[in-house]
Symmetry: C3
Subunit: 136 residues, 3 copies
């Protein structure tokens, strides 16, 4: 029986493009049987807030709706649906505890099934993983 | 005989700086005998379009020419030449199939010797690699 | 006795957020006994200049002071203090030699205890590391 592979992702930006890439890579990995861990830090933490609606970066923010429509057109789910899918697939979602303190975000501001974690605990997962990506 | 190391890069931005860094890291690795795979996704996909001329980000776009001149001054090739070098060195270049669909980019819009690949196939390469970087 | 783990970070942006994340992740890892290497390239190289005072990105630059104050409020040191801490913890700091040439930065422009290194030498460290992140 092959050993389970692990994949650790850090998300440090809260924009739509980085949000979607972390979700799509994480969900694809999880559906392949890879144990997937996503750590949301700095601006990325905003993605875990209840009702988060990430926008494209800078002046592209006005094209977010168009991008969502294009994605729907080829059968891709939106960000909220991707987050729900992540939970269903068993992807572990972590909120960086230091970022929560800096930005004054409380556990109850976040969606359900998120684990609050410090950088040390996440790095422990990272060094034991076969693949790590910093998306931000 | 030492085992061949593998290096997997994801490029998600189409700006000159990220383009050059992925090429220079990829080509350096390949010339060291490291098996190198570069996956171009989202905005990064634009770099594989025929005739792509990436610009520096935001307001720095007007300084792209100056940056290219500085690089030439110390013997660094431009982006197109780096891409050609990558092919010569055997670097594998992949276009993200989902990004192609979203952005309406067809295989014939891309330069030669590019393989169209899904995220799952790339993640398979990634978890089997000794090093992975997300440049974007 | 467990083998020492290694962590290789590339920093390619010179903004406050990316600067702090690389320092906080690097210092946390080093304090856990992980051998930590940080390679500063492109805009990231500016962080190693004497007296560097990184700012938040884009229009957020005006909020850098507020962010520093918030961080101080929860006991987080500023960038300069984090750099000093990195040295005390034995984190290896590298300046990308090619970036120095492009930007006309000399060794004496940089803070002490920085090693000038080429991409090939850094990639050698990277492929032998258990974890790699590209912060930029």
């Amino acid at each position: 029986m092959p050993e389970t592979k692990r994949f650790a992702i850090v998300v440090s930006e809260g924009t739509f493009d980085k949000a979607m890439m972390s979700m799509m890579m994480g969900n694809t990995a999880a559906s392949m049987g890879i144990e997937t861990h996503i750590f949301f830090t700095f601006f990325g933490l905003n993605l875990l807030k209840k009702g988060a609606k990430p926008k494209m970066p800078g002046i592209y923010r006005f094209f977010t709706g168009m991008m969502i429509k294009k994605m729907k057109g080829i059968g891709l789910e939106g960000f909220k649906e991707q987050l729900d899918m992540a939970k269903d697939l068993g992807v572990k979602l972590y909120a960086c505890s230091t970022s929560m303190e800096i930005m004054g975000i409380k556990k109850e501001d976040l969606i359900d099934d998120v684990t609050v974690l410090g950088a040390a605990a996440f790095l422990n997962i990272g060094v034991e993983s076969e693949m790590q990506l910093f998306i931000g």
